[in-house]
């Protein structure tokens, strides 16, 4: 506390906190996290995981409140397209031409207790969308 933070910095920190919570949750389901914060020139993937024979690209959305709507509602079609582009980049980079893959979304609602994150509520959407085109 007492350290001055910008809004952007706070947002990044919240995102990282959410990603960590999501990764922990997914590991609990038996997912193996291969990469987090994967960047491609055309977009980012929050978590890249293996779930059995599936390669899973995970978008994590974290919200402190519902003022801007539910976190999962922020995964717009435009965001989905960026995610898909980043995923294709990942597949090419690793020469993964025959691996079945899908896109999951993990929504993290942070319950604040005395201004500090409490127990997060997590909703997991398996194969949340199939990218168009």
């Amino acid at each position: 506390m007492g350290v001055e933070t910008t809004a952007a910095e706070r947002r990044r920190r919240l995102g990282r906190w959410g990603e960590a919570a999501a990764a922990e949750y997914l590991r609990g389901l038996g997912f193996v996290v291969l990469a987090s914060g994967y960047r491609s020139p055309r977009g980012e993937v929050d978590l890249v995981c293996r779930d059995g024979r599936w390669l899973v690209f995970v978008e994590v959305k974290t919200r402190l409140s519902r003022a801007a709507g539910a976190p999962e509602e922020a995964v717009t079609p435009a965001k989905q397209r960026r995610l898909a582009a980043a995923a294709r980049h990942f597949l090419q980079q690793h020469r993964l031409h025959a691996v079945p893959y899908r896109f999951d979304v993990v929504a993290v609602d942070v319950g604040l207790v005395d201004g500090r994150p409490g127990l997060p509520r997590i909703r997991h959407y398996r194969s949340a969308f199939t990218p168009a085109g």
């Binding site: 539910a70 999962e72 509602e73 995964v75 979304v105 909703r123 959407y125 949340a128 969308f129």
Partner: protein, 532 residues
């Protein structure tokens, strides 16, 4: 969470088509999609319904919502499905119990605050409820009852000002709602025949037409006896009429007064008129009055005939069962005038849009006016015409033959004499009530005459009908023969004279067509220069 199927309808031209609205609320990433050929305004329903539900206290469920509008190949250009979509989401999400409300025809556009508007073409859509045997219509009614409510007859309706009211209605088992107080539907005024004592009788029938500007009483127009008589004949037999003469001689005024000569529309006709106006999103003409439309000569083909990307009734259909007045007929676009052919022959306009045909009823009395030439003074005794011969020919050449064929009465309208101008117009007894009574009687004769013949008035008589109903005795036959030979009439002109003579005889209450009838008919033969 489940799928639900509700019922709505969409407007295509002036027809209502049933549409079923299927709503699926499934687990998954929250999304809201509408499929089944929605127009942009219908697709935007997502945003309207989302906001309206939230503002009514029901945020959208965090689910994958899919709305399918079936049949998918039917274009859905109007925003009428919001009510069905909103209630469907609530039902599929478990906020509304299944019940009789699911059988009703749900019609309404929702605003962001949850209030519901009535749809366009309510009368056409009500026909769907009747045809499909639905228990009734649930209709948006923010801002009061739409005028169409008076025309619903046997179709029950509940009027819902907003989503909150709609939810309450559905939860309470969809009660049919009280019928509108009284039966506010106005009856057409009684014919002026016996009812001289009734103030509304004659006046109601010839008061304002569809436009406020149409309110002209024939008795208030000075002079022009010949033209007035021609209007009476046109009204009686449904004959197309063209007045020509220099500017400022009262052609437009005369045309506006013809509505007052026509009998008030029959109930079935009023219903057709109301349905067209409802589909056009316009208020209807006052009860008991036939529509009068006078599009400007710059009108486009689509606006005149009906059409547009989403087919809407044009001026021709707005004039259905009434009067279409085309002032300055030669100045209309050629393509617009050409389009008159089909409606003049068949009484309908049909347009093809988005791979689907829309048919608009368009049975009207055509009244046209024209200056005799471009400068307006050809044949004028006081002012010299400044047109060249080429201009004269060109002026009339824009009128295609098939249109002229549908004009039976050619009426020169001249300058008034000094005496005519100074005479008070309303001097003498009013003649309109009598003329209107004659017209009505003549129309009744025609109705009986053409029972089962597929036509409705003398103007529609073809060769077969003329042989049956316009036979001439030796005397009148001789009159027509002499005129035919002397003026070298065409066959068309000959038939035209027979049709008009038939109507003149009907106005006279005479079964036989006499010499006088033929002679009078011949006086409307005169055509302005240019197409003789």
């Amino acid at each position: 969470m489940s799928a639900l199927r509700l019922h709505s309808a969409t407007l295509w031209g002036v027809e209502g088509c049933p549409v079923s609205v299927e709503i699926d609320v499934a687990p998954g990433l929250p999304s809201f999609r509408i499929i089944g050929m929605p127009a942009t305004v219908v697709r935007e329903s997502c945003e309207r319904v989302r906001a309206a539900l939230r503002n009514t206290g029901f945020p959208l469920p965090l689910s994958r919502i899919t709305v399918n509008l079936a049949p998918a190949d039917l274009p859905k250009p109007h925003p009428v499905f919001d009510l069905a979509i909103a209630l469907g989401i609530l039902g599929a999400a478990g906020h509304l119990p299944p019940g009789p409300w699911m059988d009703w025809l749900l019609l309404g556009e929702v605003s962001l605050d949850g209030s519901l508007r009535p749809p366009r073409g309510l009368l056409s859509l009500a026909g769907v409820a009747r045809g499909e045997g639905r228990p009734g219509l649930a209709v948006g009614a923010a801002g009061g009852l739409p005028w169409e409510h008076a025309w619903l007859d046997d179709v029950r309706a509940v009027w819902l000002p907003d989503l909150r009211a709609a939810i309450a209605w559905a939860r309470s088992g969809a009660p049919p709602g009280a019928p509108p107080a009284g039966q506010p539907r106005q009856q057409a005024p009684e014919p002026p025949a016996g009812g001289a004592g009734s103030p509304t009788a004659g006046a109601g029938a010839r008061a304002a037409g569809a436009g406020a500007a149409a309110a002209v009483d024939l008795d208030q127009i000075r002079g022009q006896v010949h033209a007035k008589r021609a209007l009476e004949i046109a009204a009686a037999g449904g004959h197309g009429l063209l007045m020509y003469g220099p500017p400022g001689t009262g052609k437009s005024l005369l045309a506006r007064s013809v509505v007052g000569l026509l009998p008030p529309p029959e109930p079935a006709e009023s219903r057709e008129i109301a349905q067209i106006y409802s589909a056009a999103g316009l208020p209807p003409p006052p009860p008991g009055v036939r529509p009068f439309r006078d599009p400007h000569h710059t009108v486009t083909r689509a606006a005149l005939l009906g059409g547009g990307a989403v087919p809407e009734p044009g001026e021709l259909s707005l004039a259905h069962r009434g009067v279409l007045f085309l002032d300055e007929l030669p100045l209309f676009r050629r393509e617009a005038v050409d389009g008159l052919r089909e409606p003049l022959e068949q009484g309908v306009v049909s347009v093809q849009r988005l791979g689907r045909r829309a048919r608009f009823p368009a049975r009207f009395l055509l009244v046209a006016a024209a200056n005799p030439c471009r400068c307006g003074h050809f044949g004028d005794e006081e002012v010299a015409c400044r047109c060249t011969e080429f201009e004269l020919r060109r002026y009339w050449a824009t009128l295609p033959g098939p249109i002229l064929d549908r004009i039976d009465l050619f009426v020169p309208v001249g300058r008034l004499s000094f005496d005519e101008v100074t005479t008070t117009a309303s001097a003498g007894p009013p003649r309109v009530p009598e003329a209107a009574a004659r017209v009505r009687a003549a129309r009744e004769i025609q109705t009986l005459r053409f029972l089962g013949e597929g036509i409705q008035c003398n103007a529609e008589m073809g060769r077969v009908h003329l042989d049956r109903h316009a036979l001439l005795d030796a005397g009148p036959r001789e009159v027509l023969r002499r005129a035919y030979e002397r003026y070298r009439l065409s066959v068309r002109a000959h038939d035209r004279i027979l049709r008009v003579a038939r109507t003149i005889a009907d106005l006279d209450g005479s079964l036989a067509i006499t010499r006088e009838h033929v002679l009078e008919a011949l006086s409307y033969r005169e055509a302005p220069l240019g197409w003789a």
